[in-house]
Amino acid sequence: MKLSSLRLLDRTLSELQLTWAIRFLFGISIALIVALSYSYHTINRELVYYAGRVDHTQEVQITIQKIASSVFITDYHLKNYLLLGGEDSKNEARQQLKILPVFTDLLDSLVDDNLAQNKRAQTLRGELRAFSRTVDSLVTHALPIDQASQLLSLRVDTKQLNRINQTLHDMTSVEILLMENRIKSRDNYEQQVYRFNWVIMVVALLFLSSSFILLDRELRRNKMYRLELENKIQNLNRSNEELEQFAYVASHDLQEPLRKIRSFSDRIVSQHAPSLPQEVRYMLEKIDVSAKRMQLLIDNLLSFSRIVRTNYSPKLTNLNTILLEVKNNLSETIKEKEVKIKSQDLPTVAAYPMQMVQLFQNLISNSIKYSKDGQFPEIAINYRLAHGTDIPTVNPSHRELQFHLIEFIDNGIGFSPEYADKIFVIFQRLHGRDQYEGTGIGLAICRRVVSNHNGYLIAEGKEGKGAKFCLYLPLQPIFN
Protein backbone atom coordinates (compact mmCIF):
# COMPACT_ATOMS: atom_id res chain seq x y z
CA MET A 1 0.00 0.00 0.00
CA LYS A 2 2.71 2.43 1.05
CA LEU A 3 5.03 1.36 -1.73
CA SER A 4 2.41 1.59 -4.43
CA SER A 5 1.38 5.09 -3.36
CA LEU A 6 5.05 6.10 -3.45
CA ARG A 7 5.40 4.67 -6.89
CA LEU A 8 2.45 6.77 -7.91
CA LEU A 9 4.25 9.76 -6.43
CA ASP A 10 7.29 8.93 -8.40
CA ARG A 11 5.38 8.72 -11.61
CA THR A 12 3.41 11.88 -11.22
CA LEU A 13 5.96 14.19 -9.60
CA SER A 14 8.42 16.16 -11.59
CA GLU A 15 12.06 16.16 -10.62
CA LEU A 16 11.74 19.53 -8.90
CA GLN A 17 8.63 18.45 -6.99
CA LEU A 18 10.39 15.27 -5.93
CA THR A 19 13.35 17.24 -4.64
CA TRP A 20 10.97 19.42 -2.63
CA ALA A 21 9.07 16.36 -1.36
CA ILE A 22 12.33 14.87 -0.08
CA ARG A 23 13.30 18.14 1.58
CA PHE A 24 9.85 18.41 3.12
CA LEU A 25 9.90 14.85 4.46
CA PHE A 26 13.38 15.29 5.88
CA GLY A 27 12.44 18.63 7.43
CA ILE A 28 9.23 17.25 8.96
CA SER A 29 10.97 14.18 10.34
CA ILE A 30 13.71 16.23 11.92
CA ALA A 31 11.17 18.68 13.40
CA LEU A 32 9.08 15.78 14.72
CA ILE A 33 12.08 14.10 16.26
CA VAL A 34 13.08 17.35 17.94
CA ALA A 35 9.54 17.98 19.25
CA LEU A 36 9.13 14.43 20.45
CA SER A 37 12.53 14.48 22.07
CA TYR A 38 11.62 17.65 23.90
CA SER A 39 8.34 16.29 25.29
CA TYR A 40 10.08 13.01 26.06
CA HIS A 41 12.59 14.99 28.05
CA THR A 42 9.82 16.82 29.95
CA ILE A 43 7.98 13.63 30.77
CA ASN A 44 11.20 11.98 31.79
CA ARG A 45 11.92 14.85 34.16
CA GLU A 46 8.45 14.42 35.74
CA LEU A 47 9.11 10.71 36.06
CA VAL A 48 12.39 11.32 37.84
CA TYR A 49 10.68 13.88 40.08
CA TYR A 50 7.89 11.51 41.10
CA ALA A 51 10.33 8.67 41.62
CA GLY A 52 12.25 11.02 43.93
CA ARG A 53 9.03 11.93 45.77
CA VAL A 54 8.18 8.27 46.26
CA ASP A 55 11.63 7.70 47.76
CA HIS A 56 11.12 10.77 49.96
CA THR A 57 7.79 9.52 51.27
CA GLN A 58 9.35 6.20 52.07
CA GLU A 59 12.11 7.97 53.95
CA VAL A 60 9.52 9.93 55.99
CA GLN A 61 7.69 6.72 56.82
CA ILE A 62 10.90 5.01 57.86
CA THR A 63 11.75 7.95 60.13
CA ILE A 64 8.26 7.84 61.69
CA GLN A 65 8.72 4.11 62.28
CA LYS A 66 12.06 4.77 63.90
CA ILE A 67 10.55 7.39 66.21
CA ALA A 68 7.69 5.03 67.08
CA SER A 69 9.98 2.14 67.85
CA SER A 70 12.32 4.42 69.85
CA VAL A 71 9.34 5.71 71.89
CA PHE A 72 8.08 2.21 72.60
CA ILE A 73 11.55 0.92 73.48
CA THR A 74 11.87 3.82 75.95
CA ASP A 75 8.46 3.02 77.34
CA TYR A 76 9.35 -0.65 77.65
CA HIS A 77 12.54 0.12 79.60
CA LEU A 78 10.75 2.71 81.72
CA LYS A 79 8.08 0.20 82.76
CA ASN A 80 10.72 -2.43 83.38
CA TYR A 81 12.52 0.01 85.65
CA LEU A 82 9.37 1.04 87.49
CA LEU A 83 8.26 -2.53 88.07
CA LEU A 84 11.55 -4.26 88.60
CA GLY A 85 14.11 -1.51 89.16
CA GLY A 86 17.66 -1.99 87.97
CA GLU A 87 20.24 0.40 86.64
CA ASP A 88 20.33 -1.23 83.15
CA SER A 89 16.73 -0.42 82.30
CA LYS A 90 17.17 3.11 83.58
CA ASN A 91 20.24 3.66 81.41
CA GLU A 92 18.56 2.10 78.35
CA ALA A 93 15.59 4.44 78.72
CA ARG A 94 17.89 7.43 79.02
CA GLN A 95 19.88 6.24 76.03
CA GLN A 96 16.73 6.06 73.89
CA LEU A 97 15.70 9.54 74.96
CA LYS A 98 19.01 10.88 73.67
CA ILE A 99 18.43 9.31 70.21
CA LEU A 100 14.86 10.65 69.87
CA PRO A 101 15.79 14.32 69.07
CA VAL A 102 18.02 13.11 66.23
CA PHE A 103 15.03 11.41 64.59
CA THR A 104 12.70 14.32 65.24
CA ASP A 105 15.22 16.71 63.64
CA LEU A 106 15.44 14.42 60.63
CA LEU A 107 11.66 14.24 60.37
CA ASP A 108 11.42 18.01 60.62
CA SER A 109 13.80 18.51 57.74
CA LEU A 110 12.04 15.81 55.70
CA VAL A 111 8.54 17.25 55.98
CA ASP A 112 9.77 20.79 55.61
CA ASP A 113 8.03 21.04 52.19
CA ASN A 114 4.62 19.88 53.45
CA LEU A 115 2.81 22.44 55.61
CA ALA A 116 0.25 20.08 57.21
CA GLN A 117 2.83 17.42 57.93
CA ASN A 118 5.16 20.07 59.28
CA LYS A 119 2.50 21.17 61.74
CA ARG A 120 1.99 17.59 62.84
CA ALA A 121 5.74 17.19 63.19
CA GLN A 122 5.79 20.26 65.50
CA THR A 123 2.95 18.78 67.55
CA LEU A 124 4.87 15.52 67.71
CA ARG A 125 7.99 17.35 68.82
CA GLY A 126 6.03 18.95 71.69
CA GLU A 127 4.49 15.65 72.67
CA LEU A 128 7.84 13.90 72.56
CA ARG A 129 9.40 16.63 74.66
CA ALA A 130 6.61 16.19 77.27
CA PHE A 131 7.09 12.43 77.08
CA SER A 132 10.85 12.86 77.55
CA ARG A 133 10.33 15.03 80.56
CA THR A 134 7.91 12.56 82.15
CA VAL A 135 10.26 9.66 81.54
CA ASP A 136 13.23 11.65 82.74
CA SER A 137 11.53 12.65 85.99
CA LEU A 138 10.38 9.10 86.61
CA VAL A 139 13.81 7.57 86.18
CA THR A 140 15.63 10.34 88.06
CA HIS A 141 13.68 9.91 91.35
CA ALA A 142 15.11 7.34 93.56
CA LEU A 143 13.24 4.13 93.93
CA PRO A 144 11.04 2.85 95.40
CA ILE A 145 8.11 5.18 94.68
CA ASP A 146 4.80 4.63 96.27
CA GLN A 147 2.20 2.86 94.23
CA ALA A 148 -0.19 5.77 94.00
CA SER A 149 2.35 8.19 92.48
CA GLN A 150 3.63 5.38 90.32
CA LEU A 151 0.18 4.80 88.95
CA LEU A 152 -0.30 8.50 88.42
CA SER A 153 2.96 8.79 86.55
CA LEU A 154 2.09 5.75 84.45
CA ARG A 155 -1.28 7.22 83.57
CA VAL A 156 0.38 10.42 82.43
CA ASP A 157 2.88 8.40 80.46
CA THR A 158 0.18 6.29 78.79
CA LYS A 159 -1.80 9.40 77.90
CA GLN A 160 1.28 10.92 76.34
CA LEU A 161 2.05 7.69 74.55
CA ASN A 162 -1.45 7.52 73.10
CA ARG A 163 -1.13 11.07 71.87
CA ILE A 164 2.23 10.35 70.25
CA ASN A 165 0.81 7.21 68.78
CA GLN A 166 -2.10 9.12 67.30
CA THR A 167 0.15 11.78 65.77
CA LEU A 168 2.50 9.22 64.32
CA HIS A 169 -0.48 7.32 62.92
CA ASP A 170 -1.85 10.50 61.35
CA MET A 171 1.47 11.32 59.80
CA THR A 172 1.92 7.80 58.48
CA SER A 173 -1.52 7.62 56.92
CA VAL A 174 -0.93 10.98 55.18
CA GLU A 175 2.42 9.74 53.90
CA ILE A 176 0.86 6.48 52.72
CA LEU A 177 -1.76 8.43 50.82
CA LEU A 178 0.94 10.66 49.34
CA MET A 179 2.98 7.67 48.37
CA GLU A 180 0.06 5.99 46.66
CA ASN A 181 -0.58 9.12 44.61
CA ARG A 182 3.06 9.51 43.78
CA ILE A 183 3.47 5.89 42.79
CA LYS A 184 0.41 6.25 40.59
CA SER A 185 1.88 9.35 38.95
CA ARG A 186 5.26 7.71 38.56
CA ASP A 187 3.72 4.65 36.94
CA ASN A 188 1.66 6.87 34.68
CA TYR A 189 4.71 8.81 33.51
CA GLU A 190 6.66 5.61 33.19
CA GLN A 191 4.05 4.30 30.79
CA GLN A 192 4.00 7.57 28.90
CA VAL A 193 7.75 7.49 28.49
CA TYR A 194 7.48 3.99 27.21
CA ARG A 195 4.78 5.00 24.73
CA PHE A 196 6.74 8.05 23.65
CA ASN A 197 9.78 5.96 23.00
CA TRP A 198 7.76 3.87 20.61
CA VAL A 199 6.07 6.80 18.91
CA ILE A 200 9.39 8.57 18.34
CA MET A 201 10.93 5.46 16.92
CA VAL A 202 8.01 4.66 14.63
CA VAL A 203 7.61 8.23 13.36
CA ALA A 204 11.32 8.67 12.78
CA LEU A 205 11.50 5.34 11.02
CA LEU A 206 8.49 6.13 8.86
CA PHE A 207 9.70 9.51 7.71
CA LEU A 208 13.30 8.55 7.31
CA SER A 209 12.46 5.43 5.37
CA SER A 210 10.13 7.29 3.03
CA SER A 211 12.81 9.94 2.48
CA PHE A 212 15.28 7.20 1.88
CA ILE A 213 13.04 5.52 -0.65
CA LEU A 214 12.53 8.79 -2.52
CA LEU A 215 16.24 9.55 -2.38
CA ASP A 216 17.11 6.10 -3.58
CA ARG A 217 14.68 6.48 -6.45
CA GLU A 218 16.18 9.84 -7.31
CA LEU A 219 19.67 8.38 -7.27
CA ARG A 220 18.63 5.52 -9.47
CA ARG A 221 16.89 7.90 -11.84
CA ASN A 222 20.02 10.02 -11.91
CA LYS A 223 22.09 7.00 -12.71
CA MET A 224 19.72 6.14 -15.53
CA TYR A 225 19.98 9.67 -16.89
CA ARG A 226 23.74 9.49 -16.67
CA LEU A 227 23.82 6.23 -18.59
CA GLU A 228 21.45 7.68 -21.14
CA LEU A 229 23.65 10.75 -21.44
CA GLU A 230 26.78 8.66 -21.83
CA ASN A 231 25.02 6.67 -24.50
CA LYS A 232 24.01 9.84 -26.29
CA ILE A 233 27.56 11.17 -26.12
CA GLN A 234 28.79 7.94 -27.61
CA ASN A 235 26.26 8.20 -30.41
CA LEU A 236 27.24 11.81 -30.95
CA ASN A 237 30.91 10.90 -31.19
CA ARG A 238 30.04 8.17 -33.63
CA SER A 239 28.00 10.45 -35.82
CA ASN A 240 30.77 13.05 -35.66
CA GLU A 241 33.21 10.46 -36.89
CA GLU A 242 30.80 9.53 -39.64
CA LEU A 243 30.49 13.18 -40.59
CA GLU A 244 34.24 13.44 -40.87
CA GLN A 245 34.29 10.33 -43.01
CA PHE A 246 31.56 11.85 -45.10
CA ALA A 247 33.64 14.96 -45.53
CA TYR A 248 36.46 12.85 -46.83
CA VAL A 249 34.16 10.96 -49.17
CA ALA A 250 32.72 14.25 -50.39
CA SER A 251 36.16 15.71 -50.94
CA HIS A 252 37.59 12.80 -52.81
CA ASP A 253 35.18 10.26 -54.16
CA LEU A 254 32.36 12.64 -55.14
CA GLN A 255 34.64 15.13 -56.77
CA GLU A 256 36.35 12.48 -58.89
CA PRO A 257 33.42 11.68 -61.21
CA LEU A 258 32.48 15.34 -61.29
CA ARG A 259 35.93 16.30 -62.48
CA LYS A 260 35.63 13.69 -65.24
CA ILE A 261 32.28 15.04 -66.40
CA ARG A 262 33.70 18.53 -66.62
CA SER A 263 36.97 17.46 -68.20
CA PHE A 264 35.39 15.37 -70.92
CA SER A 265 32.65 17.81 -71.84
CA ASP A 266 35.28 20.53 -71.81
CA ARG A 267 37.50 18.54 -74.13
CA ILE A 268 34.64 17.89 -76.52
CA VAL A 269 34.05 21.63 -76.71
CA SER A 270 37.71 22.58 -77.04
CA GLN A 271 38.60 19.94 -79.62
CA HIS A 272 35.43 19.61 -81.62
CA ALA A 273 33.62 22.91 -81.24
CA PRO A 274 33.68 23.93 -84.89
CA SER A 275 32.11 20.68 -86.06
CA LEU A 276 29.40 20.61 -83.37
CA PRO A 277 25.86 21.81 -83.98
CA GLN A 278 24.80 24.89 -81.98
CA GLU A 279 22.34 22.88 -79.87
CA VAL A 280 24.97 20.32 -78.77
CA ARG A 281 27.34 23.09 -77.79
CA TYR A 282 24.54 24.71 -75.78
CA MET A 283 23.79 21.47 -73.97
CA LEU A 284 27.47 20.85 -73.25
CA GLU A 285 27.65 24.31 -71.76
CA LYS A 286 24.67 23.46 -69.52
CA ILE A 287 26.44 20.28 -68.38
CA ASP A 288 29.49 22.32 -67.53
CA VAL A 289 27.53 24.96 -65.57
CA SER A 290 25.70 22.31 -63.56
CA ALA A 291 28.88 20.42 -62.84
CA LYS A 292 30.59 23.65 -61.76
CA ARG A 293 27.74 24.39 -59.39
CA MET A 294 27.90 20.93 -57.93
CA GLN A 295 31.61 21.41 -57.43
CA LEU A 296 30.89 24.61 -55.53
CA LEU A 297 28.28 22.91 -53.38
CA ILE A 298 30.66 20.10 -52.49
CA ASP A 299 33.39 22.61 -51.68
CA ASN A 300 31.00 24.57 -49.48
CA LEU A 301 29.80 21.45 -47.74
CA LEU A 302 33.39 20.58 -47.03
CA SER A 303 34.24 23.96 -45.59
CA PHE A 304 31.10 23.75 -43.45
CA SER A 305 31.99 20.33 -42.09
CA ARG A 306 35.55 21.46 -41.46
CA ILE A 307 34.29 24.12 -39.00
CA VAL A 308 32.70 21.41 -36.87
CA ARG A 309 36.08 20.03 -35.99
CA THR A 310 38.88 22.36 -35.14
CA ASN A 311 42.39 21.56 -34.05
CA TYR A 312 43.11 25.08 -32.91
CA SER A 313 42.62 26.25 -29.37
CA PRO A 314 40.72 29.44 -28.52
CA LYS A 315 42.75 32.62 -28.07
CA LEU A 316 42.01 36.03 -26.62
CA THR A 317 40.78 37.82 -29.70
CA ASN A 318 40.16 41.52 -30.09
CA LEU A 319 37.07 41.79 -32.27
CA ASN A 320 38.10 45.29 -33.43
CA THR A 321 41.16 43.66 -34.99
CA ILE A 322 38.97 40.99 -36.56
CA LEU A 323 36.71 43.66 -38.03
CA LEU A 324 39.74 45.50 -39.42
CA GLU A 325 41.00 42.31 -41.06
CA VAL A 326 37.59 41.66 -42.59
CA LYS A 327 37.37 45.22 -43.92
CA ASN A 328 40.77 44.67 -45.44
CA ASN A 329 39.68 41.39 -47.05
CA LEU A 330 36.60 43.07 -48.49
CA SER A 331 38.30 46.38 -49.31
CA GLU A 332 37.70 46.13 -53.06
CA THR A 333 33.98 45.48 -52.72
CA ILE A 334 33.68 48.13 -50.01
CA LYS A 335 35.32 50.70 -52.29
CA GLU A 336 33.39 49.63 -55.35
CA LYS A 337 29.97 49.71 -53.69
CA GLU A 338 30.83 52.64 -51.40
CA VAL A 339 29.88 50.68 -48.27
CA LYS A 340 29.79 52.57 -44.97
CA ILE A 341 30.62 50.57 -41.86
CA LYS A 342 30.13 52.31 -38.50
CA SER A 343 31.33 50.32 -35.56
CA GLN A 344 31.29 50.87 -31.81
CA ASP A 345 34.24 49.71 -29.74
CA LEU A 346 34.10 45.91 -29.68
CA PRO A 347 35.21 43.64 -26.83
CA THR A 348 38.04 41.15 -26.59
CA VAL A 349 36.81 37.58 -26.31
CA ALA A 350 38.26 34.08 -26.11
CA ALA A 351 37.58 32.68 -29.57
CA TYR A 352 38.94 30.88 -32.61
CA PRO A 353 40.29 33.89 -34.55
CA MET A 354 39.99 32.30 -38.01
CA GLN A 355 36.36 31.40 -37.34
CA MET A 356 35.64 34.91 -36.09
CA VAL A 357 37.03 36.35 -39.33
CA GLN A 358 34.79 33.97 -41.27
CA LEU A 359 31.78 34.98 -39.15
CA PHE A 360 32.30 38.74 -39.50
CA GLN A 361 33.17 38.47 -43.17
CA ASN A 362 30.10 36.39 -43.98
CA LEU A 363 27.78 38.73 -42.07
CA ILE A 364 29.22 41.87 -43.67
CA SER A 365 29.41 40.51 -47.20
CA ASN A 366 25.88 39.22 -46.74
CA SER A 367 24.71 42.76 -45.91
CA ILE A 368 26.59 44.14 -48.93
CA LYS A 369 25.18 41.46 -51.20
CA TYR A 370 21.59 42.08 -50.19
CA SER A 371 21.78 45.87 -50.35
CA LYS A 372 19.00 47.93 -51.95
CA ASP A 373 19.39 49.06 -55.52
CA GLY A 374 20.34 52.73 -55.76
CA GLN A 375 21.30 53.04 -52.11
CA PHE A 376 24.79 52.82 -50.63
CA PRO A 377 25.05 49.93 -48.18
CA GLU A 378 25.37 51.04 -44.57
CA ILE A 379 26.25 48.67 -41.78
CA ALA A 380 26.13 49.65 -38.10
CA ILE A 381 27.90 47.39 -35.64
CA ASN A 382 26.73 48.04 -32.05
CA TYR A 383 28.00 46.51 -28.87
CA ARG A 384 26.54 46.16 -25.38
CA LEU A 385 26.21 43.61 -22.59
CA ALA A 386 23.13 41.41 -22.41
CA HIS A 387 21.65 38.89 -20.05
CA GLY A 388 20.90 35.26 -20.91
CA THR A 389 17.18 35.86 -20.48
CA ASP A 390 17.29 38.47 -23.29
CA ILE A 391 17.95 35.72 -25.83
CA PRO A 392 14.71 34.25 -27.16
CA THR A 393 16.08 30.78 -27.89
CA VAL A 394 18.39 30.58 -24.88
CA ASN A 395 19.42 27.20 -23.55
CA PRO A 396 18.07 26.80 -19.96
CA SER A 397 21.60 26.32 -18.61
CA HIS A 398 22.69 29.65 -20.16
CA ARG A 399 19.84 31.63 -18.64
CA GLU A 400 21.88 33.14 -15.82
CA LEU A 401 24.95 33.96 -17.91
CA GLN A 402 26.10 37.34 -19.14
CA PHE A 403 26.66 37.80 -22.86
CA HIS A 404 28.40 40.20 -25.20
CA LEU A 405 25.78 41.38 -27.68
CA ILE A 406 27.08 42.57 -31.04
CA GLU A 407 24.42 43.76 -33.47
CA PHE A 408 24.95 44.00 -37.22
CA ILE A 409 22.29 46.33 -38.62
CA ASP A 410 22.08 47.06 -42.35
CA ASN A 411 19.87 49.12 -44.65
CA GLY A 412 19.48 46.36 -47.23
CA ILE A 413 16.45 44.57 -48.62
CA GLY A 414 15.82 42.68 -45.38
CA PHE A 415 13.65 39.62 -45.25
CA SER A 416 10.24 38.58 -44.02
CA PRO A 417 10.31 37.69 -40.29
CA GLU A 418 8.99 34.20 -40.94
CA TYR A 419 12.28 33.34 -42.65
CA ALA A 420 14.38 34.47 -39.65
CA ASP A 421 15.35 30.89 -38.90
CA LYS A 422 15.30 29.41 -42.38
CA ILE A 423 18.14 31.61 -43.60
CA PHE A 424 20.57 29.78 -41.32
CA VAL A 425 19.83 26.34 -42.78
CA ILE A 426 22.56 25.04 -45.06
CA PHE A 427 21.82 25.57 -48.79
CA GLN A 428 18.56 27.38 -47.95
CA ARG A 429 18.05 30.49 -50.05
CA LEU A 430 15.33 33.10 -50.10
CA HIS A 431 16.05 34.27 -53.64
CA GLY A 432 16.42 32.69 -57.07
CA ARG A 433 19.92 32.07 -58.33
CA ASP A 434 19.30 34.54 -61.14
CA GLN A 435 18.76 37.35 -58.62
CA TYR A 436 21.59 36.65 -56.19
CA GLU A 437 24.33 34.14 -56.70
CA GLY A 438 25.61 31.82 -54.00
CA THR A 439 24.85 28.46 -52.53
CA GLY A 440 23.32 29.41 -49.19
CA ILE A 441 26.24 28.33 -47.05
CA GLY A 442 27.35 31.70 -45.62
CA LEU A 443 24.87 32.11 -42.76
CA ALA A 444 24.94 28.37 -42.01
CA ILE A 445 28.67 28.72 -41.43
CA CYS A 446 28.00 31.80 -39.28
CA ARG A 447 25.62 29.94 -37.03
CA ARG A 448 28.01 26.98 -36.85
CA VAL A 449 30.85 29.28 -35.80
CA VAL A 450 28.67 30.91 -33.15
CA SER A 451 27.53 27.59 -31.71
CA ASN A 452 31.18 26.47 -31.64
CA HIS A 453 31.63 29.37 -29.22
CA ASN A 454 28.49 28.45 -27.26
CA GLY A 455 26.86 31.66 -28.41
CA TYR A 456 23.70 32.57 -30.30
CA LEU A 457 23.09 34.19 -33.66
CA ILE A 458 19.61 35.54 -34.15
CA ALA A 459 18.29 37.28 -37.23
CA GLU A 460 15.61 39.94 -37.22
CA GLY A 461 14.28 41.45 -40.37
CA LYS A 462 11.45 43.17 -42.17
CA GLU A 463 10.81 42.95 -45.86
CA GLY A 464 12.47 46.00 -47.44
CA LYS A 465 13.57 47.49 -44.12
CA GLY A 466 17.01 46.02 -43.59
CA ALA A 467 18.24 43.15 -41.53
CA LYS A 468 19.60 42.89 -38.01
CA PHE A 469 21.82 40.07 -36.81
CA CYS A 470 22.27 39.75 -33.06
CA LEU A 471 25.45 37.94 -32.09
CA TYR A 472 25.59 36.78 -28.46
CA LEU A 473 28.91 35.51 -27.12
CA PRO A 474 29.22 34.36 -23.49
CA LEU A 475 31.17 36.75 -21.25
CA GLN A 476 32.82 33.81 -19.52
CA PRO A 477 33.88 31.56 -22.39
CA ILE A 478 32.63 27.99 -22.37
CA PHE A 479 34.48 25.53 -24.53
CA ASN A 480 33.97 21.80 -24.44
Partner: protein, 138 residues
Amino acid sequence: MIDHSILMADDDADDRFLVQAAFEDNNIPYNVLFFEDGEQLLTHLKNKMNEVAPSFILLDLNMPKRDGRDVLKVLKADSRLRSIPIIIFSTSKAPDDVDSSYRLGANSYVVKPTSYEHLKDVILKISDFWLNTALTPS
Protein backbone atom coordinates in the same frame (compact mmCIF):
# COMPACT_ATOMS: atom_id res chain seq x y z
CA MET B 1 64.14 8.89 -81.42
CA ILE B 2 63.53 10.95 -78.29
CA ASP B 3 66.00 10.38 -75.52
CA HIS B 4 63.92 11.51 -72.59
CA SER B 5 60.65 10.17 -71.37
CA ILE B 6 58.00 11.24 -68.90
CA LEU B 7 56.40 8.67 -66.59
CA MET B 8 52.95 8.77 -65.07
CA ALA B 9 51.44 6.36 -62.53
CA ASP B 10 47.67 6.62 -62.11
CA ASP B 11 45.10 3.89 -61.62
CA ASP B 12 42.39 5.93 -63.31
CA ALA B 13 42.18 5.18 -67.04
CA ASP B 14 40.23 8.39 -67.71
CA ASP B 15 42.90 10.50 -66.10
CA ARG B 16 45.60 8.72 -68.08
CA PHE B 17 43.63 9.38 -71.25
CA LEU B 18 43.08 13.05 -70.40
CA VAL B 19 46.73 13.62 -69.48
CA GLN B 20 47.87 11.93 -72.67
CA ALA B 21 45.46 14.09 -74.63
CA ALA B 22 46.78 17.17 -72.89
CA PHE B 23 50.37 16.27 -73.81
CA GLU B 24 49.31 15.67 -77.41
CA ASP B 25 47.21 18.81 -77.65
CA ASN B 26 50.13 20.80 -76.29
CA ASN B 27 52.41 19.22 -78.89
CA ILE B 28 55.01 18.21 -76.33
CA PRO B 29 57.35 15.93 -78.22
CA TYR B 30 58.09 13.63 -75.31
CA ASN B 31 57.43 9.99 -74.89
CA VAL B 32 54.91 9.63 -72.03
CA LEU B 33 54.73 6.19 -70.42
CA PHE B 34 51.72 5.27 -68.27
CA PHE B 35 51.49 2.83 -65.37
CA GLU B 36 48.39 1.61 -63.61
CA ASP B 37 49.89 1.40 -60.12
CA GLY B 38 53.03 2.01 -58.11
CA GLU B 39 54.20 -1.57 -58.47
CA GLN B 40 54.33 -1.31 -62.28
CA LEU B 41 56.19 1.97 -62.10
CA LEU B 42 58.82 0.62 -59.70
CA THR B 43 59.32 -2.55 -61.77
CA HIS B 44 59.85 -0.44 -64.87
CA LEU B 45 62.35 1.84 -63.14
CA LYS B 46 64.33 -1.11 -61.75
CA ASN B 47 64.49 -2.79 -65.18
CA LYS B 48 65.68 0.36 -66.91
CA MET B 49 68.13 1.29 -64.19
CA ASN B 50 71.04 1.55 -66.62
CA GLU B 51 69.24 3.59 -69.24
CA VAL B 52 68.65 7.31 -69.26
CA ALA B 53 66.50 8.43 -66.33
CA PRO B 54 63.03 9.87 -67.06
CA SER B 55 62.71 13.70 -67.11
CA PHE B 56 60.05 13.65 -64.40
CA ILE B 57 57.38 11.46 -62.93
CA LEU B 58 53.70 12.36 -62.41
CA LEU B 59 52.59 10.35 -59.40
CA ASP B 60 49.04 9.82 -58.13
CA LEU B 61 48.68 9.35 -54.37
CA ASN B 62 45.80 6.93 -54.06
CA MET B 63 46.43 3.78 -56.06
CA PRO B 64 45.95 0.05 -55.46
CA LYS B 65 48.92 -2.22 -54.55
CA ARG B 66 51.63 0.35 -53.92
CA ASP B 67 50.25 3.83 -53.50
CA GLY B 68 51.98 7.11 -54.27
CA ARG B 69 53.39 7.58 -50.75
CA ASP B 70 54.93 4.15 -50.85
CA VAL B 71 56.51 4.74 -54.26
CA LEU B 72 57.79 8.12 -53.09
CA LYS B 73 59.47 6.50 -50.08
CA VAL B 74 61.12 3.79 -52.21
CA LEU B 75 62.34 6.24 -54.85
CA LYS B 76 63.75 8.76 -52.38
CA ALA B 77 65.51 5.96 -50.50
CA ASP B 78 67.26 4.74 -53.64
CA SER B 79 70.51 6.63 -54.27
CA ARG B 80 70.23 6.34 -58.04
CA LEU B 81 66.54 7.12 -58.41
CA ARG B 82 66.47 9.86 -55.82
CA SER B 83 67.35 12.61 -58.30
CA ILE B 84 64.35 12.08 -60.59
CA PRO B 85 61.90 15.01 -60.10
CA ILE B 86 58.60 13.72 -58.76
CA ILE B 87 55.40 15.71 -59.13
CA ILE B 88 52.52 14.51 -57.03
CA PHE B 89 49.39 14.72 -59.19
CA SER B 90 46.35 14.03 -57.04
CA THR B 91 42.71 14.94 -56.53
CA SER B 92 43.27 15.58 -52.83
CA LYS B 93 43.58 19.13 -51.54
CA ALA B 94 43.93 17.93 -47.95
CA PRO B 95 46.73 19.77 -46.12
CA ASP B 96 47.79 16.46 -44.55
CA ASP B 97 48.45 14.94 -47.98
CA VAL B 98 50.37 17.98 -49.19
CA ASP B 99 52.53 18.19 -46.07
CA SER B 100 53.35 14.48 -45.91
CA SER B 101 54.23 14.38 -49.62
CA TYR B 102 56.74 17.20 -49.31
CA ARG B 103 58.14 15.62 -46.17
CA LEU B 104 58.69 12.39 -48.08
CA GLY B 105 60.68 14.34 -50.68
CA ALA B 106 58.19 15.20 -53.45
CA ASN B 107 59.52 17.96 -55.74
CA SER B 108 56.13 19.56 -56.16
CA TYR B 109 52.45 18.95 -55.57
CA VAL B 110 49.75 19.71 -58.13
CA VAL B 111 46.02 19.17 -57.67
CA LYS B 112 44.33 17.66 -60.70
CA PRO B 113 42.45 20.47 -62.47
CA THR B 114 38.70 20.18 -62.72
CA SER B 115 38.37 21.16 -66.36
CA TYR B 116 40.14 20.01 -69.47
CA GLU B 117 41.26 23.49 -70.49
CA HIS B 118 42.81 23.94 -67.09
CA LEU B 119 44.46 20.51 -67.30
CA LYS B 120 45.96 21.32 -70.66
CA ASP B 121 47.37 24.52 -69.24
CA VAL B 122 48.79 22.79 -66.14
CA ILE B 123 50.47 20.06 -68.21
CA LEU B 124 52.02 22.70 -70.45
CA LYS B 125 53.33 24.63 -67.45
CA ILE B 126 54.73 21.55 -65.70
CA SER B 127 56.45 20.39 -68.85
CA ASP B 128 57.76 23.84 -69.63
CA PHE B 129 59.15 24.22 -66.12
CA TRP B 130 60.80 20.81 -65.73
CA LEU B 131 61.93 20.42 -69.36
CA ASN B 132 62.88 23.96 -70.32
CA THR B 133 63.18 26.18 -67.26
CA ALA B 134 64.65 24.14 -64.44
CA LEU B 135 68.05 22.57 -64.72
CA THR B 136 67.92 18.89 -63.83
CA PRO B 137 70.71 16.33 -63.31
CA SER B 138 71.85 14.73 -66.53
